[in-house]
């Protein structure tokens, strides 16, 4: 009988995982909540199990998913990203039930998920880090600790929830007064969100580049990196555009960062796929930030430039196989860019277009183009899940070729119904600093004009609007 692997996720990543599972000759078991009963990930899976009416709570239910795995006879679970992907209790539950969790062990997730423990491990391994504190003590003592840290390193300072992640539970503090005011607020929020009110501080690196290294580590003692990614183009710590490799024109530095990432992974006894994140300041100093213990949204750019299927390797590693290649076999070829095409209105604070129906959907194709999508013509943007329609990843031999391909592909899309982030990305693809590879995490706020576009009009649409006016007025009213 074929091995079965349960995909504990939805959306484009569920499809991505299903494809890898099926390519390996295994069967993919989908799970879903009632609002997702029409969804595409169910259609392509070999079997689908309803978890409950949701929304979201069933995808987050360890118990229901373990039960589904047992019921279907799945020997392994892939959590994807989001939902339970970095929940050590879920990994633990898998371990306890004799199900292979495709990812690191629950202990690794627990350690690296706790920012303070992670920092400690890295400090001991000699990994460069942004100055920061341990968990702040409760009450006044903690505030005093915070103020003395601020006195030493100066503002701005990040106040972070120890159990936070993915941009949540982070706030920037500029003054002592704000610090005193915000510590209790942050604690209350962290408690509500992560069931842990610990917080700590980190010095802010001003306008850094966000560079991360993809790691694969098997259970036979091999740890390799797949090069760098630059995810500097972010909005409120949410990544918008990811590219690989980093555009920093300093090969020795990038090599050093990759080696450091491997060292960091080894220090954490890392297993399976992970991402070591760094900040790089203006003077090209780099600082360890965190290790993400999941497959990331932007893994596609690394796959494009290395030709290595990360999800396939995750599954093999989880089944105890050694990596089939060495560090020397990893070759970086060309550049890749990924954009997340969401049904959102960037001009309106990226408000999701939940409830709207995609009346026309035409996608792009051709050389060097990859689509990881969930959307189809007739798809209704869910109000209870995320608004990602499709990830567009383009690959080119040179950066210039890659940007040109990105523009071409964005231009090829025709999506009617909801507003999308396409025109916003189009502006970025035409923006001088992006085109020359000159961007850091301040990019979005320092380039406000990228929000300036006419959403429902391509150049052809605009000209059609003009011709419609001339047609309607029976003469050109602008030429009189």
């Amino acid at each position: 009988m074929k091995k079965k692997i349960l995909v504990a996720n939805r959306g484009e990543i569920a499809i991505r995982l299903t494809r890898a599972i099926q390519e390996l000759g295994y069967e993919a078991i989908a799970v879903y909540e009632t609002p997702d009963e029409m969804s595409r990930h169910i259609r392509i899976a070999d079997e689908a199990i309803l978890l409950g009416d949701g929304p979201r709570c069933d995808y987050l239910s360890i118990e229901k998913i373990i039960r589904a795995a047992k019921k279907s006879g799945a020997c392994a679970i892939h959590p994807g990203y989001g939902f339970l992907a970095e929940n050590p209790f879920f990994a633990k539950a898998c371990e306890n039930n004799g199900i292979i969790f495709i990812g690191p062990t629950s202990e690794i997730i627990l350690n690296l998920g706790n920012k303070v423990i992670a920092r400690k491990i890295m400090a001991e391994a000699g990994i460069p880090m942004v100055p920061g504190t341990q968990n702040l003590k409760q009450g006044r003592e903690g505030v005093a600790e915070a103020l003395s840290f601020a006195a030493k390193y100066g503002y701005p300072i990040m106040l972070k929830a120890t159990s936070g992640g993915g941009g949540r539970g982070i706030r920037r503090i500029e003054t002592d007064a704000e610090m005193q005011e915000m510590i209790p607020v942050a604690r209350a929020e962290a408690l509500a969100a992560f069931n842990d009110d610990s917080v700590f501080l980190e010095k802010v690196v001003i306008n850094p580049k966000h560079v991360e290294v993809q790691i694969l580590a098997d259970s036979h003692g091999h740890t390799v990196h797949l090069g760098t990614r630059d995810c500097s183009i972010q909005r409120r710590n949410q990544k918008l555009i990811e590219i690989a490799p980093s555009m920093i024109n300093n090969r020795p530095l990038l090599d050093e960062i990759c080696d450091t990432a491997v060292k960091a992974a080894k220090a954490a006894n890392y297993l399976n796929a992970g991402t070591v994140e760094f900040l790089i300041d203006k003077d090209q100093n780099y600082y360890f930030m965190e290790i993400n213990t999941r497959v990331q949204v932007e893994h596609t750019v690394t796959e494009m430039i290395t030709g290595i299927d990360i999800v396939r390797n995750q599954i093999n590693i989880a089944f105890g196989k050694p990596l089939s290649f060495t560090q020397e076999d990893v070759q970086i070829r060309g550049h890749a860019i990924e954009v997340r095409i969401n049904a959102e209105d960037p001009k309106n604070d990226f408000m999701p277009e939940g409830g709207k129906k995609v009346t026309v959907y035409r996608s792009t194709g051709g050389f060097g183009v990859r689509l990881d999508g969930f959307v189809y013509q007739g798809y209704v943007i869910p109000e209870v899940y995320d608004s990602l329609l499709v990830k567009l990843t383009v690959h080119g031999f040179t950066w210039e070729e890659t940007v040109g391909r990105l523009k071409r592909c964005l231009h090829n899309f025709a999506i009617r119904g909801p507003k999308t982030t396409i025109p916003f990305y189009m502006n970025i693809a035409n923006e001088k600093d992006f085109v020359t590879g000159n961007f850091d995490t301040s990019y979005i706020e320092t380039h406000p004009h990228i929000f300036h576009y006419d959403e429902d009009a391509s150049e052809a649409g605009k000209l059609a609007r003009f011709i419609a006016q001339v047609h309607y007025s029976r003469e050109n009213p602008f030429a009189k």
Binding site: V360, D454, E459, R465, I467, A468, V470
Partner: protein, 635 residues
């Protein structure tokens, strides 16, 4: 001898001109468009002609400047900089030429020095030959432009504006040339700017000869208009007496008030033993063949009166202003008064106002004054703000003599001596705070403007912003052929429209039905590249909207004004409301300034009292009879 290639250093250009056996031709496409088609020739047509025009080997292509920059953004919705870039792509060899009004740049009033310099610098990136003039031949008005053109390494072509009459002697013009050369040096081409096409061939020949006698090494560029049908004659005499460059245009678009046809000039001069240097006659012919078919789309912009106008020797209106003057007469319903205006009043006004040169903005002042004098009843009874400024010497000193005192009295009032004493003379226009203007534009646009956008905004604040917003909404419409751009009567269902967009991408529109729903809204259905698109248009608003009052007669408007109901006396735009609500005014106080046909006119109170309500605001376009404000009598 070979042609001059764009990008050559000024020294080399002049060396070629000075040693040339034969003469050169400038293709004055811009002046042709302005004089005979109200500046409406689209970039689309110029791009069609570009390849052959480049091959033809002209000294230069005069393609920007004059009124064209304003019309580009106002009526053709094309970016004047973009236009030059697009043409340059297709015309790598030919120098581009502009017509610049000195201190008035491409507008109608003096600009601050910093704006003049900024504008010239940006345009000089694309423009190789700078023909610069001042309508009073007042050389200081051209200094800043000369300097910036020189700094940019481009060719200065200062003009002496030409006219006829006893004052317009060779001595005067040779001295004027000397005054210019004292500023610019001799590495220039000197233009005889005969914007009206005035004088006889003999007169032009004598003038060129006189100039060459004195300044043998300064190449003369003769610019004329064919308004009387005799410019080829003047060109021939100019060349025979030593002119090096002459102006002509493509024959398939020649009309009445613009330049004469290139080929006619070439054929005629050949008989006299003069050959055009580097000119490819086949390419000249081919240009006309390629664009001939496009002319029909521009017919609507041709003059209301067809035929040559030998009477230009009497009224002296420049070719570039003929079309707009006749259009104004047609729109204003006084075409029948034109003989009086053109042949009696204009020459009289011209003489009374100092016999200066009838060219922008001076020609507009003469024209407006003559029209007001004929239609208004009382001569100089309702003087425009610009006439006032002319008398105050704001544009520069009168070249020959000052108008008589009674005119000063009419225009400036009984205390005219005092006014002249206090306000007279050229003002040093204060530099504009560029950073502030840039900020203001950024606020209006929502994005940081480019330098080019800022320049257009500084020249024409309202129209530039409207143009930027238009482009945002309707895209780069310059790609549309005149058959689409000037389409009349709409399209039939099933018609297919094809065009190539700014990025070079082909598109197709299939026209669907245009049903009207119950509330009067029209939905236009198009299939754009096979995607169904709907464009909705709200029902046209009924009359009665503010500023759209029914047309009243001049008498009715005056009667209302005397009762305190101030209405617009003509079709025009509010430049400024000069009073506030609650303010007390006396009869004769200025309450607003309006602008029509580029000229400003003050609106005066016909009744004293308190301003109780202001209907119109700055920038409003009013029809005759449109409400401006209300004055109630003092209790």
């Amino acid at each position: 001898m070979t042609r001059i290639i764009q990008g050559s250093p000024v020294k080399d250009i002049l060396a070629t001109l000075r040693t040339a056996k034969g003469y050169f031709i400038t293709n004055t496409a811009r002046d042709q468009s302005q004089s005979d088609f109200k500046n409406r020739i689209l970039l689309h047509t110029d791009l069609m002609a570009a390849e052959n025009r480049d091959k033809a080997g002209y000294f230069s292509l005069e393609i920007t400047g004059g009124a064209s920059i304003h019309v580009d953004i106002l009526r053709k919705q094309v970016d004047p900089f973009q236009k030059l870039r697009k043409l340059r792509e297709k015309m790598p060899n030919t120098m581009f030429q502009t017509l610049c009004r000195g201190v008035n740049l491409f507008g109608y009033r003096p600009y601050p020095q910093n704006i003049i310099r900024f504008t010239v610098r940006e345009f000089a990136k694309y423009v190789d030959v700078w023909r610069t003039f001042d309508f009073l031949n007042y050389v200081p008005n051209m200094h800043a432009v000369f300097e910036e053109v020189g700094k940019a390494g481009k060719l200065n072509e200062p003009c002496i504006c030409f006219s006829t009459g006893p004052e317009h002697s060779n001595e005067y013009y040779v001295a004027k040339a000397g005054e210019i050369i004292a500023v610019t040096g001799r590495d220039i081409t000197l233009c005889i700017k005969n914007h009206g096409g005035l004088g006889t061939p003999k007169r032009i020949g004598e003038l060129v000869d006189a100039l060459k006698q004195k300044y043998a090494d300064v190449p003369i560029h003769y610019h004329g208009h064919n308004t009387d049908g005799n410019d080829v004659g003047r060109i021939v005499e100019a060349v025979r007496n030593g002119a090096t460059i002459v102006d002509a245009a493509d024959s398939s678009f020649t009309g009445f008030y613009g330049p004469p046809p290139v080929l006619t000039v070439v054929q005629t001069l050949k008989e006299y033993g003069y050959d055009p240097v580097g000119l490819d006659e086949e390419a000249v012919i081919a240009t006309s063949e390629v664009i001939r078919d496009q002319r029909r789309y521009y017919e609507q912009f041709e003059s209301q009166i067809k035929g040559f106008q030998p009477t230009v020797q009497i009224h002296k209106l420049p070719g570039g202003a003929m079309g707009s003057s006749l259009e104004q007469a047609a729109k204003g319903g006084f075409l029948d008064r034109m003989p009086d205006i053109l042949h009696k009043e204009l020459p009289r006004v011209q003489k009374e106002l100092g016999n200066y040169w009838s060219v922008t903005p001076g020609s507009q002042i003469l024209w407006t004054t003559a029209v007001a004098n004929v239609l208004g009843g009382e001569r100089y009874g309702n003087p425009s703000g610009d006439l006032r400024n002319l008398l105050l010497g704001k544009y520069g000193p009168f070249p020959f003599y000052r108008p008589e005192e009674w005119i000063y009295q009419k225009v400036l009032g009984d205390d005219w001596r005092e006014v002249l004493e206090k306000e007279g003379g050229v003002d040093a226009v204060a530099d504009m705070d560029m950073a502030h203007e840039r900020y203001a534009l950024a606020e209006l646009l929502g994005v940081e403007p480019t330098d080019e956008q800022l320049i257009l905004y500084l020249q024409y604040p309202n129209d530039a912003v409207e143009f930027f917003k238009f482009s945002e909404k309707y895209g780069q419409v310059y790609v549309l052929s005149p058959s689409i751009f000037f389409r009349k009567g709409g399209y039939a269902v099933g018609e297919k429209i094809t065009f190539r967009d700014h990025h070079g991408k082909e598109h197709m529109i299939e026209v669907g039905p245009s049903p009207v729903n119950d509330s009067g809204e029209t939905s236009v259905y198009f299939n754009v590249d096979h995607h169904p698109s709907i464009f909705n248009f709200k029902a046209k608003t009924a009359a009665g909207k503010q500023g759209e009052a029914p047309i009243l007669s001049k008498e009715e408007i005056l009667d209302l004004a005397k009762a305190g109901d101030v209405r617009s006396p003509f079709s025009g735009k509010i430049v400024e409301i000069t009073v506030d609500e609650g303010q007390e005014v006396l009869i004769g106080d200025r309450v607003a300034i309006m602008e029509a046909m580029k000229m400003q006119t003050p609106i005066l109170a016909e009744m004293g009292g308190i301003v109780t309500f202001i209907n119109a605001k700055k920038g409003d376009s009013l029809k005759p009879g449109g409400k401006i404000l209300k004055i109630d009598p003092n209790e």
